[in-house]
């Protein structure tokens, strides 16, 4: 039985109460949690921190534009299979001549399972009580989410070629988190199989807490000033608003200086390149802040 107690965040991760509840509900119901939201709001962090704080196995599948369900579930190694079946023929000939046979490293062409490379999906389903992250599913080809439907609603994968079935019961389903940056709309049927949660951008107050979690020793004045500037930038209506991740990077950079020097750097807006990523925005930011 997988762990189904409510998880409310860890020392390093501030979990929004509503997100925590949605995640808990998804785990109890054995459904995947689909998280959308602006980049850098900690979508990917949730499963990572969850597995770390509870010491669970973590399986990650980073989705790309060429992702297929084979890579996610399991792949049959046809080339190895061809080699081994040729080796069999060859070995028969070699035996006639009294030569040693070639090795197939313990694989047998009789046993098709030997040629299956499990992907993160199948691995997570076979290890009970694990965490599975399908990262940035919006990058996937259109058919990828639809191909996942079967596995998600029937809680099982059928291995290619061998037909072996890897399944999980509702109780020991891995905790599945799927993230999306909304670059493409996901199919309705797919969304129907998930619990949906949209992470909204944290307010300044919450941001202080997040920063505190990452830099417990940071100087208060420094953090206040940095966060202030950060939200000013976000309000400036830029093409690409800076995200939490970028704020944290910027603070990391500022912390390498002595306090006064760091404050000075905030005033002088140096190192703004960490926060602002396009030339147009940089000009806008400078105009806005002056």
């Amino acid at each position: 039985m997988a762990d189904k107690t409510m998880w409310t965040g860890s020392d390093l991760y501030l979990c929004d109460p509503e997100l925590a509840q949605a995640f808990h509900m998804a785990r109890v119901l054995g459904m995947p949690l689909l998280i959308e939201g602006e980049p850098g709001t900690g979508k990917t962090e949730l499963p990572l921190q969850f597995s770390q704080s509870l010491n669970l196995d973590m399986h990650v599948y980073p989705v790309g534009s060429k992702s297929t369900v084979d890579q996610f579930v399991a792949k049959f190694d046809h080339v190895k299979y061809l080699r081994d079946s040729q080796v069999e023929v060859l070995n028969a000939q070699r035996e006639e001549r009294g030569m040693d046979g070639l090795s197939t490293s313990g694989r047998s062409t009789e046993n098709l399972d030997d040629y299956i490379n499990l992907g993160p999906g199948a691995k997570a389903y076979s290890a009970k009580n694990s965490v599975l992250l399908i990262d940035e599913i919006d990058k996937a080809p259109r058919e990828f989410p639809n191909d996942l439907l079967y596995a998600l609603s029937h809680r099982k994968f059928v291995m290619p070629e061998s037909g072996r079935v890897i399944s999980a019961t509702e109780d020991d389903m891995p905790a599945i988190v799927i993230t999306s940056n909304r670059e493409q709309e996901l199919p309705t049927a797919f969304k129907g199989r998930c619990i949906y949660h949209y992470i909204s951008f944290p307010e300044a107050e919450v941001m202080h807490e997040i920063v505190r979690k990452h830099f417990p020793d940071a100087d208060n004045e420094l953090v206040d000033k940095a966060i202030n500037l950060f939200y000013q930038l976000r309000r400036a209506g830029m093409e690409r608003a800076p995200s939490t991740r970028e704020l944290l990077n910027w603070l990391k950079y500022l912390q390498t200086f002595k306090k006064n020097e760091a404050l000075d750097r905030i005033v002088k807006r140096s190192g703004l390149g960490v926060l602002v990523k396009t030339e147009k925005d940089l000009l806008k930011a400078q105009r806005f802040l002056n």
């Binding site: 109890v28 119901l29 259109r142 709309e185 107050e205």
Partner: protein, 469 residues
């Protein structure tokens, strides 16, 4: 306590008639707000109840939202549907949640009871309507998560109590903790009434403790939530707990009920964009399928023949024709161009925009000021896979629709399969226009609203036919 419906939430027995009568109409109600609710939603809801996930109306809100709201654009309609269904609070078009709550019966009943409390007898001590609505929403959005937090908080409080610490040994303190944990664990068995009552007490304690300078949730980094002050004012939890959502619904424009049936404006442009993103575009190409080649070759006893497979790639090309002449179109042009240029930024695809005045004669213009003419043959020379959006009110004097004009349109509609006309004019006026019915016979026409765009895109995808490049 106050809401009949909260009380009935405690009667979530699967077979109770209340469950049946209450939830039978649920999918229908939420569907009426263009949300994805069906029988499966009910089954999941029931399962969630069996597993003890739903103990307060706040839990119901969070779970149901996860189940039926599948996009940011659904959050607004969801809030409207939920308040209407569970609390009889009807949020009218363009109305804020706050004013809808303030005029609702259930809020008035609640406020009356709330103000009976003796400390509010004096007129001057009474909270404002704004504060009351806040409190009311906080109670509605109270989740078992919050309850657990507050009980956990009570645990911290008990441990922190300086008086206790003086007297108790280490072991006794341990007992104390366990007792509180038990309490936290069995909250599901307590009625909502009792829970709210208990929380009120705990909160009361907390307020005193806070004044006395003791620790509370958030102190010493034991809890991720705000510091002590957050709990002042009764049941509100951890400052950001139950109230966050409610506040968000009122204050945050993204949670503001967006009506997908009103004409496109700057405010609902993101919703429309989400609709546009649904345009599917696929492109296929053959490639050598090595696994299949080997498999078939082995079947043939070692004779390998190349096996081919179609490879699918994605692509998106849009041709936009905008009527920018005449006053009737001017309010929409800026919004429409922003919408499509936003699309352009987010996707690596071709976007071609042309302008015309009322109707096309042999072609259209490449620039907004209509100086660079391009004839229809040129426009039709784009690839057949382009998705065409025509944006215009299609309302003009009948003489303007000359044969030359009709032929131009026909050339366009014959060339492109995926073609949609988006009309900013209200749908009910279409029939009374002299020319709209004619243009409707040429192209599918949809209202220029987020919903209209979604419908257009869906129909376009349905008509999808693929042409080789």
């Amino acid at each position: 306590m106050i809401f009949d419906k909260i009380l009935s939430l405690k009667l979530f027995d699967n077979n109770s008639p209340i469950f049946k009568t209450m939830f039978d109409s649920l999918p229908h109600h939420f569907r009426a707000h263009s949300l994805n609710a069906d029988v499966r939603t009910l089954l999941l809801l029931r399962k969630a109840m069996e597993k003890g996930l739903i103990n307060t109306i706040g839990d119901m809100y969070v779970l149901l939202k996860g189940l039926v709201a599948k996009d940011l654009k659904d959050y607004g309609p969801f809030a409207v549907a939920f308040y209407d269904y569970f609390l009889n609070i009807e949020i009218k078009k363009g109305e804020t949640l706050e004013s809808a709550v303030a005029r609702s019966e259930s809020f008035k009943d609640w406020a009356e009871e709330y103000l009976l409390d003796e400390k509010y007898i004096e007129e001057k001590d009474r909270p404002t309507v704004h504060e009351l609505v806040d409190k009311y929403l906080n109670e509605i959005h109270l989740t078992s998560f919050d309850i657990k937090k507050i009980l956990d908080g009570a645990e911290i409080f008990n441990k922190d109590n300086p008086d206790l610490k003086d007297k108790l040994t280490e072991g006794a303190e341990q007992d104390n903790t366990e007792r509180m944990l038990q309490e936290a664990a069995d909250y599901q068995g307590i009625s909502v009434e009792e829970l709210l009552e208990r929380m009120r007490k705990v909160a009361e304690n907390q307020r005193e403790a806070h004044n006395g300078g003791s620790h509370w949730i958030g102190s010493g980094g034991t809890s991720p939530y705000g510091n002590g002050g957050a709990a002042i004012g009764g049941i509100r939890v951890g400052g950001k707990g139950g109230g966050k959502n409610a506040r968000a619904v009122i204050g945050d424009p993204r949670f503001y009920p967006v009506d997908t049936k009103v004409p496109l404006t700057d405010n609902n442009i993101d919703v429309a964009l989400a609709g546009l993103k649904g345009i599917e575009e696929e492109d296929s190409e053959k490639y050598l399928d090595i696994p299949d080649t080997i498999k078939q070759g082995l079947k043939r006893g070692g004779i390998f023949m190349p096996e081919e497979k179609e490879k699918i790639t994605q692509k998106l090309q849009v041709l936009l024709l905008i009527d920018n002449g005449g006053w009737s179109m001017s309010p929409y042009i800026k919004t429409v161009t922003t919408l499509f240029s936003k699309m352009d930024k987010r996707f690596a695809h071709d976007l071609k925009t042309y302008y015309f005045h009322n109707t096309m004669y042999n072609g259209a213009y490449k620039d907004e000021r209509r100086t660079q003419f391009e004839n229809i043959e040129k426009i039709c020379s784009l690839h057949k896979n382009y998705s065409v959006f025509i944006i215009g009110d299609a309302d003009m004097a009948t003489y303007e629709v000359s044969k030359a004009s009709v032929d131009t349109w026909k050339q366009l509609t014959e060339r492109y399969d995926r073609l949609a006309w988006l009309n900013p004019m209200r749908e009910s006026y279409w029939q009374s226009s002299d020319t709209v019915p004619f243009f409707r016979s040429l192209a599918e026409m949809y209202p220029l609203t987020p919903q209209g765009i979604i419908d257009a895109v869906l129909d376009m995808n349905r008509k999808r036919r693929y042409y080789k490049m």
